[in-house]
């Protein structure tokens, strides 16, 4: 069967094959159980570390593989074919790691990136608070200079891998009166005085991923933990999200592909009215739309990721498009997959109900899809003003 030729290099194909192997051998056999128990997938993280995946986006000099946004997308697409929750844990580590890679000093990079690349330490990214979600500028967590230290106070909410990660990049207000220029980014380590973890959330989907509160109570960290310059906090957060969002699009593609595969296979086997249900045009049309939207999503995600890797700097709009389109498609595809499996699709004996529950988060985290539309809309407004 002809597949779209995305002109992958041999190395890129290798990444695809290896991550697919991990999905099939290590993730799919345990995903239902992990979903049920909400257990953190440490064993799989170890397999991913052994496979060098955590170093994909990290430069060679820090023990990584020198890959870019595209390599990362290829990997998470295949991993998400297995399970979005497990893949989110993996991807969140990159989300937390990008600020150090992009804005860290040479000392900070040398200190943290090798352990991150080797998968010895997971990273988490802490921006959201109870009263500051889409409106990130509303964060209340503060950081105050005190001699050779910064002292952080506040509560971060819904932080992926909270409690499990060793390294946290935290956005906190350093100069409230300066508004958007008043935030800064910090590296906080598990075990720092005054740093602890609050409640672990129980969720509709994404259940094997840990989502937890971070409690900063006079958390005292050395001065050198400031990332970039004072006041760069939101810029660091935005640049990080711009780079990470195509990855969420890629997760959506992998998930949707898995749902389509389930749906087609089922439709060929399920007999009603003396024929396989795939012979009904209503079913065929649903499958046709699903397959087409998946391929369109993949093409968009890949093209955006490659554009980013080509050195393009103005990526906010493109990366929002990749996230928006692919995750909306995944929601629709997984919902239709449940529909095609009928009552069986609604049962936990089949994997599509989990896929549908997991798809929903992709439209919410790393910026809701409404916010992606805002980003795209604002970019258009600016673009056309120039002309």
């Amino acid at each position: 069967m002809a597949k779209v030729n995305y002109f992958l290099s041999e190395e890129q194909q290798m990444i695809v094959d290896l991550t697919r192997q991990i999905a099939e051998e290590k993730i799919i056999p345990v995903r239902a159980e992990l979903d049920k128990t909400e257990e953190f997938p440490w064993d799989i993280m170890k397999d991913m570390a052994q496979a060098d995946l955590f170093g994909l986006y990290i430069p060679d000099e820090y023990g990584g593989l020198d890959g870019g946004c595209f390599e990362n997308c290829l990997a998470v697409e295949q991993l998400a074919y297995g399970c979005v929750a497990v893949t989110t844990t993996f991807a969140a580590s990159a989300l937390g790691g990008y600020p150090i890679l992009l804005f860290g000093s040479e000392d900070q990079r040398k200190q943290y990136l090798p352990d991150i690349a080797a998968g010895k330490k997971l990273v988490a990214f802490g921006l959201t608070e109870s009263n500051a979600g889409s409106d990130a500028a509303g964060i209340q967590t503060s950081a105050v200079e005190d001699g050779d230290y910064w002292v952080l106070n506040g509560t971060k909410q819904w932080i992926t891998s909270g409690g499990e990660a060793e390294i946290y990049t935290i956005i906190a207000m350093t100069d409230k009166h300066k508004g958007p220029r008043g935030a800064s980014a910090f590296i906080v380590e598990k075990g720092d005085p005054g740093f602890s973890f609050g409640k672990k959330e129980r969720k509709m989907g994404l259940r094997a991923s840990s989502t937890r509160e971070l409690l900063l109570n006079d958390c005292r960290i050395p001065k050198e933990r400031l990332l970039g310059r004072r006041g760069l906090g939101f810029i660091i957060a935005l640049k990080t999200l711009d780079l990470a969002r195509p990855g969420i699009g890629a997760i959506a593609v992998g998930l949707a592909q898995a749902a389509l595969d389930q749906a087609v296979r089922y439709a060929k086997e399920r007999i009603q009215f003396d024929q396989p249900i795939i012979s009904f045009q209503a079913i065929q049309h649903m499958l046709a739309d699903m397959a087409t939207e998946i391929e369109a999503s993949r093409a968009l995600v890949y093209s955006v990721a490659r554009t980013i890797d080509s050195g393009e700097k103005d990526i906010a709009k493109l990366s929002a498009m990749a996230k928006l389109y692919a995750t909306d498609a995944a929601m629709k595809v997984t919902t239709d997959a449940v529909q095609i499996l009928g009552g069986y699709g609604y049962m936990q004996d089949y994997p599509v109900e989990k896929m549908m529950r997991d798809a929903k988060i992709l439209q919410i985290y790393e910026g809701t899809n409404q916010i992606q539309r805002n980003v795209i809309g604002q970019a258009l407004n600016k673009e056309y003003a120039k002309k």
């Binding site: 041999e10 290798m14 290896l18 991990i22 051998e25 397999d47 052994q50 496979a51 995946l53 593989l65």
Partner: protein
């Protein structure tokens, strides 16, 4: 410690079809993979190396495409791969296969440990491991499901699984082991390993490189004729004797007398 792992490329059980008329595997268009038990043998070798130091060399006799299997073994942590490939090797039965493999292991001497899978999932004879050990003149233990080194780094303590239970055996190296799937969980390959493997040049040893007697290899060295194949039925009675060794011996004597053997 120098470890040699013998691996075989076999048709992927996931994609293989069986020609019921001819009673043979349809090999055309089927992907080749490393024999599953041999993945365990590689993992066992790499774990020993990680724990005790040394070097793992993977050897396969096969067509030029078998280079892929060796490269995969490198990505799984092996240090070197050697491909035994020569038109003259074609049509080898287990007798010729073990001769060829023995020549290669001798060329790699001194070797401390040879690891094989319990059996190949296509040929299925489980003869290559033992046959190779006999040719090399070293002891062998089959169906190993656990292993560790004694303090002297010379004696291997092995768990040898059998149908009802297991034996604990010790063997001094150099030795040959055939391993079961339960011995370990093969690791996933690493990307760095795969990249290294991609660039690796795999030496190819021919019959003449091995100094092989052409009458002992390939079709010429293969007296086996497969007349027919069938699945053996286990009809024999089995009984486990319980109790102290004395009680077991007494019970055994009773049984032998009952059977009219004594």
């Amino acid at each position: 410690m120098k470890i040699v792992v013998c691996i075989k490329q076999v048709p992927d059980a996931k994609t293989v079809r069986f020609d019921t008329e001819k009673g043979t595997l349809v090999r055309e268009g089927v992907e080749a993979v490393i024999n599953p038990f041999d993945l365990n043998a590689i993992e066992a070798g790499v774990q020993l190396k990680e724990r005790h130091g040394g070097e793992v060399t993977v050897v396969t006799m096969g067509p030029p495409q078998a280079e892929e299997a060796l490269k995969e073994a490198l990505a799984l942590g092996a240090d070197n791969g050697i491909l035994l490939s020569d038109r003259a090797f074609a049509g080898a039965d287990t007798l010729a296969t073990t001769y060829t493999l023995a020549k290669a292991v001798e060329r790699l001497a001194p070797v401390d440990l040879v690891l094989c899978g319990k059996q190949a999932i296509d040929g299925d004879t489980a003869q290559v491991g033992p046959g190779l050990a006999v040719r090399l003149g070293i002891p062998y233990v089959t169906c190993v499901s656990g292993l560790s080194f004694g303090d002297d780094q010379k004696t291997l303590r092995l768990k040898r699984s059998c149908e009802e239970g297991y034996d604990m055996v010790e063997v001094e190296i150099p030795a040959l082991l055939t391993v079961l799937a339960t011995i370990n969980t093969p690791r996933v390959p690493s990307l760095k390993g795969k990249l290294r493997a991609k660039k690796a040049r795999i030496p190819i040893w021919s019959a003449d490189d091995l100094g092989a007697d052409h009458g002992m290899i390939g079709l010429a060295g293969s007296p086996t004729q497969v007349v027919s194949t069938s699945v053996p039925k286990f009809e024999a009675k089995r009984e486990m004797l319980q109790g102290t060794p004395e009680e077991q011996v007494d019970a055994l004597l009773d049984r032998l007398e009952e059977a009219g053997i004594l």
